[in-house]
């Protein structure tokens, strides 16, 4: 139940997946609002602090997610998936897992390189030190641009990821979405296995 099965995701994967999803989408909204919308300065200040605290949380969970992904088995692809589709999905997941780590790292770099030298006080409890970067206007600008680019690229990929999940679940009737929602989902609950796909899936988690 906790761990992934041959055909289903365990609770750990599912909880990490949706917690990170919620955090990342929330961070996108907060990040966009605090940077691109004219706000009351005091509110903007506090959004920055929330963004950093939530962002560090996302970073921690994304690291756990990556370790879990590397060490835990991946369930077989759902039946009916074209090998090309499976390869594209694997590639997207791999990039999302990577972006989930480097986007907040780049955010941390913004806070660290900023000439404001403002401490990151994680949820007003503990100071998270700056990364050892030189503080200058140009370094800050560089990391801010990098962070924003990574975040919006991730947002685009997330959109594709969501669209694919919805399409496969509801148009093609493949249980890709449902099995990320419900642990213990059995392949027998869905369409029968086709031999070709089963062997393709066994071939290995790390090459699409």
């Amino acid at each position: 139940m906790l761990r992934n099965g041959e055909n289903d995701f365990g609770i750990v994967t599912i909880v990490l997946h949706w917690t990170i999803a919620l955090l990342v989408l929330g961070l996108m909204v907060v990040g966009f609002a605090m940077r691109r919308i004219e706000l009351d300065p005091a509110l903007q200040f506090s959004l920055y602090q929330w963004h950093k605290s939530l962002g560090f949380t996302a970073l921690g969970l994304a690291l756990l997610r990556a370790i879990w992904w590397l060490t835990e088995r991946t369930p077989r692809p759902v039946p009916g998936l074209h090998p090309f589709e499976h390869a594209a999905a694997r590639q997207t997941h791999r990039i999302l897992i990577l972006l989930g780590i480097i986007t907040p790292l780049a955010g941390w770099a913004v806070a660290s390189a900023s000439t404001l030298n403002m401490p990151s006080l994680y949820f007003n409890i503990i100071v998270i030190p700056h990364l050892p970067l030189q503080q200058s206007d140009s370094a800050e600008a560089f990391w801010a641009l990098t962070h924003a680019l990574l975040a919006y690229v991730m947002l685009a990929l997330v959109a594709i990821h969501i669209a694919a999940a919805i399409y496969h679940q509801f148009v093609r009737g493949e249980a890709v979405l449902i099995r990320m929602l419900r642990s213990g989902f059995r392949r027998s609950d869905a369409a029968p296995v086709e031999a070709g796909e089963a062997s393709e899936a066994v071939a290995g988690r790390n090459d699409p």
Partner: protein, 194 residues
């Protein structure tokens, strides 16, 4: 006999020698009696600590004020001071603009910060505590500053003034607890005799 006399003389000279610079170092408030206006060469410095060390510091470029030292009774002295927070200077433009914004001084709606003394208590020949009403962002509270007279002559007078002001009661608590609630003021005030 002679030697002892010599010793006594030396001691007397030594005492005078010590007393002279001491007189210059610790001018007496009562001797500096008079009315003064605060010169623009004064320096109004402030700093706010932040968690983990460092912080924000700056000064105010525009201010005005006057004070009167009562020679007969120092406790009857008084001071009036007006600060224009729009003139805040910090190490970065972003910080200055934030301090001017509605989050802190709200200079669009409150152009001045004022201080009006209500009580002066002498604490030494050249020092005193000044209590008074500080008004910022439309809120008035009793605050206290410690004043030390550092120098004076016929035309001018110099003080250092220190005070720790908690900003939250004035509706300026933004940034706490990353930035301390306490603002340390460190001022070098020059008065010109009126």
């Amino acid at each position: 006999m002679n030697a002892r006399r010599h010793l006594a003389l030396t001691a007397a000279f030594a005492l005078i020698a010590m007393a002279l610079p001491a007189r210059a170092q610790a001018p007496s408030l009562a001797d500096a009696a008079g009315s003064y206006s605060i010169a623009t060469s004064s320096r109004i410095h402030f700093s706010i600590g932040q968690t983990g060390g460092g912080g924000i510091a700056g000064n105010f470029a525009k201010f005005s004020g006057k004070f009167r030292i009562d020679g007969g009774n120092v406790s009857r002295s008084s001071v009036e001071f007006t600060l224009f927070p729009e003139s805040v200077r910090a190490r970065e433009r972003r910080i200055e603009n934030f301090l001017r914004s509605s989050a802190v001084f709200d200079t669009d709606n409150y152009q001045t910060v004022t201080f009006r003394s209500t009580r002066v208590t002498q604490t030494g020949p050249s020092s005193a505590n000044i209590e008074g009403a500080l008004t910022a962002r439309g809120k008035t509270r009793k605050e206290r500053f410690a004043v030390t007279l550092t120098d004076w002559d016929k035309r001018s007078i110099s003080f250092t003034i220190r005070g720790s002001i908690r900003r939250a009661p004035y509706g300026m608590d933004v940034g706490t607890p990353i930035y301390s609630n306490v603002v340390e003021f460190d001022m070098d005030i020059k008065g010109l005799r009126r």
